[in-house]
């Protein structure tokens, strides 16, 4: 199992941040390599992403299930790749730092399964921190643009 954690300070109040992130479609759209997202129900969605690893670009389909919506501070989720023996889980945690400042901590975990589990984790190891960082930066930029960052 491998894990990555990334924090980012968003210059927007926590309720506005929540208003933005409660839409799962937006989460998918902030993933690097996003192609499409199908909402299955309130807690389940199917994302299609193009993931680049060392010159190879691979289309992966990810089933995402939200385990818990805990407004406005926490979202827990799990996911599974379709066709690949890879699954994982993660969380979004928001913390009020001021009326117009919210710290968002993202945590994600990858687990391979089956005979090649170590390979999937080895390949994910350099990829995961990059994905988390990119996602966090985009999250900050999009929310601040949409809501209007406090100067």
């Amino acid at each position: 199992m491998i894990e990555a954690e990334q924090s980012v300070l968003v210059n927007v109040g926590i309720d506005h941040v929540w208003h933005y992130v409660k839409d799962m479609q937006r989460w998918a759209g902030m993933m690097p390599g996003y192609r499409e997202c199908t909402i299955i129900d309130a807690n389940d969605s199917r994302w299609m992403l193009k993931v680049g690893v060392g010159g190879l670009v691979r289309t992966v389909k990810v089933l995402v299930h939200v385990e818990e919506w805990d407004e406005p501070e926490r979202v827990s989720f799990s996911y599974k790749l379709e066709g690949d023996p890879v699954q994982g889980a993660g969380s979004y945690a928001a913390c009020r730092k001021g009326p117009y400042e919210t710290e968002v901590a993202l945590r994600v975990r990858v687990e391979g399964s089956g005979p090649m589990a170590p390979m999937w984790e080895a390949v994910s190891r350099p990829l995961l921190p990059r994905l988390a960082k990119s996602f966090a930066e985009k999250l900050k930029a999009e929310i601040e643009t949409a809501v209007g960052a406090h100067p």
Partner: protein, 565 residues
């Protein structure tokens, strides 16, 4: 020779290398270390060229690393081995020239740029045990992992391979049973290397040379397309290139080295030069025959040697960085146990585990009915492969991708699904199985080359690492497509022993050189040996720059005298 001097030069240097694979970078580094200013022009946005896509093998007979390990070898032996491979299609002087100089070029780069190489232990020549002068190990070298973070801002601009597991060395892979035994590899080590961006194989080899160029302050211009050679009527004195849509005239007082690889992404050239129909390719789109378009107008002579058509396949959902479908080589797949390749008659037609033999059969023409009897063809595997071995990028435990061939519970059903004769395929599989269980292939001798065992066999599978019966359903069939040989060409520019490009008048074209896959393969002739491409890039780039800077090698003449040739 045409005179096409510009009114003004935009850049002035002494040696221009066109291409940033090992050939162009070797030339630039050597020129610099012999006191000349150099410049590298790279058409794509990343440097490292096809070298970075390769397995990074470098074949050097009589090298000092082998000698340090006590492995016996010599220039004479290497020469005789390649001469046998050439089957008369090569040129003896070109063969000797390559063998004599590769070991010196290797030492030069190890001493000057910090290139660190090692013998790939237990890696035999292709023809070990079947051709005299072959060796069990010692000639095939690879790099020690390279720390790519030392490339600074060029780290992300130095090419990686989408196909090669560059987080591991050959040693790491093959001490645990090779490609077939991927399940036994040390993935913790791979993960650590990938996280630190420590590069092995081709990406590592290319990165060492990129670092050599950066350390010397040699400019590398990317997105810089060489369009035309500039001549003063007597010699080549520069290049017209385009960058950001503008013409840039680059003066090169000592010479221009064409190291732009070959033409595999140009289907017209594949057909008219290579006599190959519609090829898939593992290389990027700029490998389209620029060497001919640049050197042709100044009278360069080309030469052709026999060539093979490789086989490959596409895995749905995989792309390269240019957004094109990513080709996977069939080479490591089709020689694994429990695997055969059949034609539309349901018959095997060669030794699948030895591609240098098997691939010559792909384009055979039956003049009687105007067909290629062995194309199209299909690789057939059973579920033992799926449980134990990788199939391209598909690993054990992973779902079989939708759209990748056919799946059926019986061989007969499988044949019907792909449209070949069911009875014949059942007979073929039954006959193969009977012999495979005894470790034999009386029809084609599969599994008798030690290199086959090393490359695509399972050394833990007994009694023969390349032979296993197809008995466990479901069965799978994937149609194989024609694919290029990763830019190793049939046709290239003819050069002399200083890497000077020759004209049709059999005289060198002053100021014009070539290296790597831009050069005709007169040192291998009929049959290629893995590791030669990188070696010829390194060696010919080094020779070209030595000559251009007024330091031509005299070693060939010495060897000719010594050997009494």
């Amino acid at each position: 020779m045409v005179r096409n001097l510009p009114a003004n030069w935009d850049i002035e240097t002494e040696l221009v290398a066109i291409g940033s694979g090992i050939g162009g970078l070797s030339a630039a580094i050597t020129a610099h270390d012999h006191g000349a200013k150099a410049l590298v022009l790279e058409r794509s946005e990343q440097v490292g060229g096809v070298t970075a896509l390769s397995m990074g093998e470098v074949w050097v007979a009589g090298n000092h690393h082998a000698a340090e390990l006590g492995l016996e070898d010599s220039v004479e032996s290497g020469f005789r081995y390649l001469k046998r491979l050439s089957m008369g299609y090569g040129n003896d002087l070109a063969i000797l020239n390559k063998v004599v100089h590769a070991r010196h070029a290797l030492k030069f780069f190890e001493e000057r740029i910090g290139l660190k190489m090692q013998v790939i232990r237990n890696c035999p020549d292709y023809y070990y045990r079947t051709t005299e002068e072959s060796v069990a190990e010692g000639r095939m070298l690879e790099v020690v992992p390279f720390a790519a973070e030392t490339l600074g801002e060029w780290q992300s601009k130095t090419r990686l391979s989408p196909q090669m597991p560059y987080g591991l060395t050959h040693h790491d892979m093959f001490e645990r049973g090779g490609v077939a035994n991927m399940m036994k590899w040390d993935f913790a080590l791979m993960g650590e290397r990938l996280s630190k961006d420590e590069r092995c194989l081709g990406p590592g080899l290319a990165a060492y040379f990129v670092k050599g160029v950066l350390d010397r302050g040699i400019p590398m211009l990317t997105g810089a397309t060489a369009q035309e050679l500039i001549s003063d009527g007597e010699r080549i004195v520069g290049v017209r290139m385009t960058q950001d849509g503008k013409d840039v005239f680059v003066k090169a007082t000592r010479g221009v080295v064409i190291a732009a690889s070959s033409y595999e992404r140009n289907q017209d050239y594949n057909k008219t030069l290579g006599q190959q129909l519609e090829l898939g390719s593992m290389v990027f789109s700029t490998i389209d025959g620029a060497n001919f378009r640049l050197a042709g107008p100044v009278g360069a002579r080309s030469a052709r040697v026999p060539d093979i058509t490789s086989l490959g396949f596409l895995v749905p959902g995989e792309e390269d960085e240019e957004g094109k479908p990513l080709w996977r080589s069939a080479l490591p797949v089709i020689g694994q146990p429990h695997t055969i390749v059949v034609n539309r008659k349901g018959k095997r037609f060669g030794n699948e585990a030895f591609y240098r033999s098997f691939y010559y059969t792909i384009d055979i023409i039956d003049g009687g009915d105007q067909t290629h009897p062995n194309f199209p063809c299909w690789v057939i595997i059973d579920s033992q492969v799926r449980e134990k071995y990788p199939f391209g990028a598909i690993t054990p435990g992973q779902d079989w991708p939708e759209g990748l061939g056919a799946v059926a519970d019986t061989i007969g059903e499988l044949a019907s699904t792909i449209g070949i004769d069911a009875k014949r395929l059942e007979e073929t599989v039954a006959a193969f199985n009977t012999h495979a269980e005894k470790g034999e292939d009386p029809e084609f001798g599969r599994g008798r080359h030690p290199w086959s065992v090393w490359m695509c066999g399972d050394p833990f599978h007994k009694p023969n690492a390349n032979l296993g019966s197809l008995v466990k359903p479901p069965f799978y069939a994937v149609e194989l497509k024609r694919m290029g040989g990763t830019a190793i060409p049939a046709v290239g520019l003819l050069t002399d022993h200083h890497s000077r490009v020759m004209g049709w008048d059999d005289k060198p074209i002053a100021g014009l050189y070539a290296a790597g896959n831009s050069v005709a393969r007169m040192e291998t002739g009929a049959v290629m040996q893995s590791g030669i491409s990188n070696a010829r890039g390194m060696t010919y780039g080094w020779l070209a720059a030595r000559h251009a800077t007024g330091n031509p090698s005299g070693l060939l003449q010495e060897e000719i005298k010594r050997l009494g040739l």
